[in-house]
Symmetry: C2
Subunit: 292 residues, 2 copies
Amino acid sequence: MDPHLLATFVAVARHGSFSAAAAELGYTQSAISQQIAALEADLGLVLLSRRPVEPTPAGARLLEHAGPLLLRLRAARADVLRAAAPPRHRLRLAATALAVNPVLAARLALARAEQPRLEVSLHIGDRARIGAMVAEGEADLGLADGIAAPSDPLRLPDTGPMTAAGVTEAALVVALPAGHPLAGRASLRLADLADARWLQTPLCPLERLRDLVGEGFRAGLDYQGDDVYTVVNLVAAGHGLTLLPVSALPGASAGPVRGVALAFPRLVHRVELLHGALPPGPAADLARVLSG
Amino acid sequence: MDPHLLATFVAVARHGSFSAAAAELGYTQSAISQQIAALEADLGLVLLSRRPVEPTPAGARLLEHAGPLLLRLRAARADVLRAAAPPRHRLRLAATALAVNPVLAARLALARAEQPRLEVSLHIGDRARIGAMVAEGEADLGLADGIAAPSDPLRLPDTGPMTAAGVTEAALVVALPAGHPLAGRASLRLADLADARWLQTPLCPLERLRDLVGEGFRAGLDYQGDDVYTVVNLVAAGHGLTLLPVSALPGASAGPVRGVALAFPRLVHRVELLHGALPPGPAADLARVLSG
DNA sequence: GGTGCTTACGCAGCACGTAATAATC
DNA sequence: GATTATTACGTGCTGCGTAAGCACC
């Protein structure tokens, strides 16, 4: 179970071809063939069916393990190196689309005011990408958002040993078209909206709602992006409802979308700060300021 | 970051000696020295101070990663092999001390009645041990218990990719000495008992309570065992209070210990079934019966 | 001076590339 | 017959053990 062989196996499975994997990894086809043979001999199992090259059931099982395993290996390396590296002034901050809310944007401004030498670049990605970037040292700090019960941690995908701490929790509202029959209510229960049509978005995945409340929440439009502007416009046009942090709704009073407070279950929009080793220095200072 | 070198590094750090690690691993001192040198050269960091042999800060950081990493590697191997192995009739069941409650004991009896050929051995250990046993294939199934909010998963230590599913949830009671002023109450709020003295036990760790409720919960006696008989006797003798599943309290009415229902926060004693790959066979059948 | 880590050196095994072979489309 | 995996074989490198060296107790 040499990680080197595991990486080769993953590449072959991804390409569905020994030669393509060889090209990617800078080996000859022959070397790849020998590596796969070695891995199969080690486990005593056939991992790939040839022609076409596809994982066998055992190979598929191994594939599920291999990715996270290799990520953790890279993450461990990055973490140890980062802990020992000299402090950096050029910090990379990775965040999901809704994570940089007004509070955190203000804290970031505060940190930059306090440390004039600090340079920050901000990178947006999905949750798994944020986790992987922080784990592998591509980002110094990460901010991930999600829907959770108050003071409950987010259920982030396991990307290795790193620290995740909640930094902000904000009220969630149901985003409804202004003309919606329920748009005038002071508050709503999620269960009352189980029969409505909902947007399926990364910001508010419907299976999460079903987890929390139960059946229902039919998918309307499936939006595979993460910018709030589009989502709001989709809601306004009646493609479906969604949950948003109150700060994400535009122009409080007028406008084509209404936000109605969520009375039950009690849910919040939670943002967590992710980081690995933080030796004293700008990164640790920024983490402190962002934590409030 | 060859896992082989990582394992050597862990052994050296554990023994505080190159030669002792060499003896354990079946190498010469020289080989160990070269392996550590290779690892240090790879990372560009000194991982161990020599004479005495102790981890440097960077080495300590690496040690935190190395254990889980190596566990995951063994777990992945065990999981793939298990998925491909022929079905076994001799099953090993690993459980924490409070996990085999009346419901699960009955389900286990049911499974044995349904499958006369089934042989089961039951092994008790702490949570981390249970997780590791299941991950590495030393046990076919695991049962772990803990305190959680209703239908919330337990926060089990990460021991790699395996399935954890709740199987039972039972009411929790506060165990009080019969003479305790509050022993007559119909129910109690945990916050009202924050000023009392509590047993510190693996079954009911006080930091978990502080997590859920807040400050307080002074530690009385620290009991580092996990048998309920002793715990009950310690409570009766006034060493401190503790939370137990209602089924763990002896003889409902009389006796030196009273159990009082927990009104708030709503907490349950939850048991989760852990397993890796489960190909059709006795192990999968047993898992199905245990799940109810 | 003894214990214990490091360095030097030689050898064996292994993993790669080249090239020939076999198998599938 | 073209493409692609496997097998055969030669080579260079890596990693081990033996043994000498060196440092700290």
